[in-house]
């Protein structure tokens, strides 16, 4: 009873806010709706018994990815009028893509519903005598460890690539080098000069 109410509430909020991501005029508002959509999906995960995934969704997507989105979008100086002009010309193409995606989702859904008899093991994310953190860890680090490592390597390469592409060494900029500053001692920093009276230095 309570689960059903929670599911419909969360699902409605998720769909509505996903729509508003596209419909909102202000890009910052779009990101806010996107965050709401992430949150509702996290709630759906909790309803499925996958609380670990739900928390990861919040930590990674809401806590980091969406912050960076917001970071970029906030600094954009967007002309809303010119942005809205292209909307109708992109509508046929966008609508086509949306139709194809929706069709595929419906196909997969009906196929799954016809071949699977709904059993308890289908709706719960938890195998017997294991909580879902352990189950996920078992899958990722025991059964599919090589794929997991490969995915990690791909991400690492992407990250290094992005840094290499954007890194510029400007030659005439003085940079602070903390280890040199900290490593200075009396021997290298202080020099005692014996000055004769009336002559000054050098």
């Amino acid at each position: 009873m309570l689960q059903v109410i929670a599911f419909y509430a969360l699902a409605t909020v998720a769909v509505l806010s996903a729509f508003l991501v596209v419909a909102a005029r202000n890009p910052v508002h779009s990101v806010m709706w996107l965050i709401t959509a992430f949150f509702s999906s996290a709630g759906l995960f909790v309803l499925l018994g996958a609380e670990f995934l739900a928390m990861l969704l919040v930590v990674v997507y809401v806590g980091a990815v969406a912050v960076l989105f917001l970071f970029v979008v906030m600094m954009l100086d967007v002309d809303f009028a010119s942005l809205k002009q292209g909307f109708l010309s992109y509508l046929p193409l966008g609508g086509l893509v949306a139709l194809i995606l929706a069709g595929e989702a419906i196909m997969v859904g009906t196929f799954w519903a016809e071949t699977h008899t709904p059993a308890a093991s289908d709706v719960t994310a938890m195998p017997a005598n294991m909580n879902n953190v352990q189950a996920l860890g078992h899958l990722l680090y025991d059964e599919y460890v090589y794929f997991f490592q490969a995915a990690g390597m791909v991400l690492l390469v992407a990250m290094i690539g992005a840094i290499v592409l954007t890194l510029r060494h400007r030659p005439h900029v003085k940079r602070q080098q903390a280890h040199i500053q900290v490593g200075r001692d009396r021997k290298t920093a202080v020099e005692l000069q014996d000055i004769k009276p009336g002559e000054g230095i050098g």
């Binding site: 609380e51 928390m55 930590v59 806590g63 912050v67 917001l70 906030m74 909580n131 953190v133």
Partner: protein
């Protein structure tokens, strides 16, 4: 729906709701009341370091100062700047305020004294503390003003950076406990102060304290950065940004920001207590120490760490922004990652 909850044949549901609601109410009242005096303590400590008296006019020793400030804020006029995004401008302090409270839902202050004993409690806390950035970033943007905007950009970069090292430090504790449940993490440290995660004597002869003592330091310093406390209060650096993201805020919205900020600090103190200093456990489990109820041990430790936060604020000069980023990414991140590897090696090869 209400007939379902209040149905006498469903005692579980109605009882659960009443139980949870009263627990939430108790937590909120105790937190707000203690926050009033912690704020005073913060100002008194700061004053004592600078050889001033601090607030001493309202009530005996200034004890009612926070309540006077509260009334002053509430009775002022709310000013929304022209050109501000009105909804988001007023939503931002609410986000900070609410997030600061809901983090406490999983904090166990004594055995069984917790609103929701989640299995992923520590992850929940991490998620909530990573959400804290939204109140600041939205508030800064919605003000439609340069200084708040700069403050919110700084804050976003700073909090995202230090979350990474906080996450890794938490992983080291998780590896010891083998559980993400905060109550389990605390009860795992029972037996005496040498079993706390700070010293981790149960790992001997493997000297895990060599890893955990620095990690406690990393966590504490990252907590300072995560809550925008001095020496890392660059989002509100008054010499550069006036007051950063809260320049345009007045009256109750400002008060909500303030309460949220201090509540986050207390939450970070509570996290330090739970993760490294044995939560509600007494330092030595013999007679005079065990007479004190667990919740008081928890409170004593939290107040001690709040005192440390106040002392840091009073003693340490503010960092420069590039130094802050260097500390987070070049020092804390590799160190905490190395600590995860070391603790992982201990779990794999040293623990029996």
């Amino acid at each position: 729906m209400w007939t379902y909850w209040l149905n006498p044949e469903n005692p579980g549901a109605g009882f659960w709701i009443a139980d949870t609601l009263s627990a939430i109410l108790a937590f909120m009242i105790v937190l707000l009341l203690s926050l009033a005096f912690l704020l005073l303590m913060d100002r008194k400590v700061w004053a004592a370091v600078q050889m001033r008296k601090g607030p001493n006019v309202v009530g005996a020793f200034g004890l009612l100062q926070s309540f006077a400030d509260f009334l002053k804020f509430v009775f002022k006029e709310i000013i929304v700047p022209a050109g501000a995004d009105r909804v988001l401008f007023l939503l931002a302090p609410l986000i900070t305020f609410i997030l600061a409270f809901i983090g406490w839902a999983v904090v166990p202050v004594a055995p069984g004294w917790v609103i929701a004993d989640l299995n992923v409690g520590i992850l929940y806390l991490l998620a909530i503390s990573s959400l804290g950035v939204y109140g600041i970033i939205i508030g800064g943007w919605a003000s439609n003003s340069k200084y708040p905007f700069m403050g919110s950009l700084r804050s976003a970069a700073q909090m995202v950076s230090y979350e990474v090292s906080i996450g890794f430090v938490i992983v080291t504790v998780l590896l010891f406990a083998g559980s993400m449940n905060l109550s389990d993490i605390v009860s795992m440290q029972a037996g005496g102060f040498w079993n706390w995660n700070l010293l981790a004597a149960h790992t001997l002869p493997w000297p895990m304290f060599l890893v955990m003592i620095p990690m406690t330091g990393v966590f504490f310093i990252s907590a300072l950065a995560e809550t925008n406390r001095p020496p890392f209060d660059l989002p509100e650096a008054e010499s550069e940004l006036v007051a950063g993201y809260q320049v345009e805020y007045s009256s109750t919205p400002y008060l909500l920001f303030m309460i949220g900020e201090y509540l986050n600090i207390v939450l970070m103190c509570a996290m330090t207590t739970i993760l490294f200093f044995g939560g509600w456990l007494p330092p030595i489990e013999i007679a005079p120490f065990t007479w004190i109820p667990p919740v008081f041990w928890f409170a004593i430790k939290v107040v001690f760490f709040f005192f440390m936060f106040a002392m840091v604020k009073a003693l340490v000069p503010r960092y420069r922004y590039d130094q802050l980023m260097r500390l987070g990414w070049k020092i804390f991140l590799p160190t905490s990652l190395g600590a995860v590897v070391l603790v992982g090696a201990y779990i794999a090869y040293g623990a029996n």
